[in-house]
């Protein structure tokens, strides 16, 4: 009995620490594969270059078109996702009748589970032609298509996690507020949302992470034109889609191969910044 317990404790220990081990191993591998790039190409041209022609002679690896594409898509997707997700969460946890609540909550969870490639195919044949006709633009494969689909994917994550933290607030808090004569809106606005703040911020950052990291949908519907611009109605190429589309054919060991790892490193840095930000935002509250 005692032996069994020991084994189990050890297994849990290993499982816990393996997460740290694998994160570090992945970080090390990406760093190792991306550093040789800077022996083959200048760092300055990489950061300030506004052209992405990976297989030309000589190749041009400017990150700005990809960064601007990722930026515009992530920015607008979060602007839609975070408020909408929060509203849905408040509705589910505070306003909806009980039977609607359980129905909505489980539908959200189903929506989270849909494979993104399926969302991409559906958007390709419905949303993309619709946007082209609506705005009378040359193609519907635009940043906007990506923004809308990414929001659709991230809103359930945002709503579901915020709802969890809203419903874990002690019921006495709400009861006291209502007893003191506050309206339902005042209770939600001044008591419930501030109390669930840390959970809501965590949900928002997780959704943002999902938006930046998503590959399949953006590869399929954003048009993939690596150009520096800040318009929602133009095709864009994002970081993840570039890695996804080009890794298969990059010549092993070439500058092109290494630059794709460097793009991975940039993504890793962005997500680390998001995590550190959330750590400080949540830490300050305690």
């Amino acid at each position: 009995m005692k032996l069994k317990e020991k084994v189990i404790v050890k297994l849990i220990f290993i499982a816990g620490y393996s997460a740290i081990f694998f994160s570090l191993a992945i970080f090390y591998y990406i760093l190792k594969e991306s550093l040789p790039f800077f022996q083959l190409y200048s760092l300055g041209e990489f950061i300030t270059g506004n052209q992405w022609y990976p297989v030309s002679e000589p190749p041009k690896f400017g990150i700005l078109p990809l960064l601007s594409g990722s930026f515009i898509v992530a920015l607008f997707a979060s602007l839609i996702t975070i408020p909408t997700g929060l509203i849905v969460a408040v509705y589910i946890s505070e306003i909806a009748p009980l039977w609607v609540r359980s129905f909505l909550k489980s539908s959200l969870e189903i929506l989270v589970g849909i494979p993104t490639v399926i969302l991409g195919v559906v958007a390709l044949y419905t949303l993309v032609p619709f946007l082209r006709n609506l705005f009378n633009i040359p193609t519907g494969l635009t940043a906007l298509a990506g923004v809308l689909m990414l929001s659709l994917m991230a809103i359930p994550t945002m709503a579901s996690l915020s709802e969890d933290s809203l419903s874990s607030i002690a019921p006495s808090l709400k009861a006291n507020s209502l007893a003191l004569g506050a309206t339902r809106w005042q209770t939600i606005r001044y008591i419930l949302i501030p109390s669930a703040r840390s959970g809501i911020i965590a949900a928002a950052l997780l959704s943002l992470g999902r938006v930046i990291g998503e590959t399949m949908v953006v590869l399929m519907i954003t048009g993939n034109a690596p150009q520096v611009m800040f318009s929602l109605l133009k095709p864009v190429r994002v970081l993840t889609a570039t890695i996804g589309a080009e890794m298969g054919e990059a010549v092993f060991g070439s500058a092109h191969y290494h630059v794709l790892f460097t793009l991975g490193l940039v993504l890793l840095i962005i997500s680390t910044i998001i995590n550190i930000t959330s750590y400080f935002l949540l830490g300050r509250k305690k």
């Binding site: 052209q51 022609y53 990976p54 297989v55 034109a225 150009q227 080009e246 298969g248 054919e249 010549v251």
Partner: protein
């Protein structure tokens, strides 16, 4: 999905079944050829390779041929790594790829097995019948951006291209985009699509789009343009005949690369592909035979 896709599924089933069957009925070596051939590479040529493999295995039941796509670069990479016997490629090997192979002790042998014409396609409602190579170059560089400049409506041109790593993209860039200026590039506003079928789909749905695909991808929902080498020369419609006799100006060779001089069953397969039966299959799939 389109018929090509269905055909592909069917093919994969047929090929895999025949591989299994051929393994079951494997005869002793003295009754004929036996062995395996592994082929990988160009997505343009993957159907072609599957038809060749099927026909070759029917004639030589002791042989199993496996075929997979992934792109010309993937096939060449596999050849360098020694994991494939034949790399199918819709572009010539680059000098750095040849060097990498030599470092690994592999001497790549090149065989031209056929040709492919590249059609420039537009929407059927587009009244333009033909363009010359110079106009195409300017259009794809993004120097001509409006259909008005080519004598049609005042609407922006939507450029469709393949991914930068595709053999088709590289060929079109080197032969059309860089027609005059060897440093010219595709317009950064050109959409990079993952497959030729995606280009056909987008052109069929979009009145103001222009793209390029292999001859075999052209269907009635899109219109192939006539192309002239120069503005004073005749405009030629892309067909197997016009590519074969060299009248149509945008065609490319299709290659097999082998590890060193082919021997044994790989050599037999190559002879079959270059022989009349293999070349007939090429034509049936709307590629262009070399003889």
């Amino acid at each position: 999905m389109n018929t090509l896709f269905k055909l592909k599924i069917l093919l994969i089933m047929v090929v895999s079944t025949s591989i299994v069957l051929s393994a079951c009925v494997k005869k002793p070596a003295d009754e004929g050829l036996s062995g395996t051939v592994v082929i990988q590479g160009s997505d343009t040529m993957v159907d072609l390779g599957a038809f060749w493999a099927e026909e070759f295995m029917r004639k030589n039941p002791g042989v199993s041929v496996s075929i997979s796509g992934g792109g010309s670069g993937v096939g060449i990479k596999a050849l360098i790594d020694g994991t494939t016997d034949i790399a199918q490629s819709s572009r010539a090997m680059k000098s750095d790829e040849i060097e990498k192979a030599k470092v690994k002790g592999i001497e790549p042998y090149e065989f031209m097995v056929g040709k492919d014409g590249l059609s420039v396609i537009v929407h059927p409602d587009n009244p333009i019948v033909g363009l010359n190579k110079n106009e195409l170059s300017l259009v794809f560089q993004g120097k001509i951006t409006n259909w008005k400049e080519l004598g049609w409506e005042d609407k922006p041109i939507l450029l469709l291209s393949r991914e930068a790593t595709s053999g088709t993209h590289i060929f079109f860039k080197e032969n059309i985009v860089q027609l005059i200026d060897k440093k010219a590039e595709f317009s950064p506003g050109a959409l990079l699509l993952a497959a030729s079928s995606a280009i056909v789909r987008e052109v069929a749905a979009n009145k103001y789009a222009i793209g390029y695909v292999g001859l075999g991808f052209v269907n009635p929902k899109v219109k192939a343009l006539k192309v002239a080498k120069d503005k004073d020369l005749p405009y030629v419609y892309p067909t197997i005949e016009t590519v074969k006799n060299g009248d149509y100006p945008i065609s490319r060779p299709l290659f097999f690369y082998t590890k060193g001089e082919p021997t044994g069953v790989v050599k037999h397969f190559l002879d079959f592909v270059l022989g009349p039966d293999g070349q007939k299959i090429l034509e049936e799939l709307e590629f262009v035979p070399i003889k």
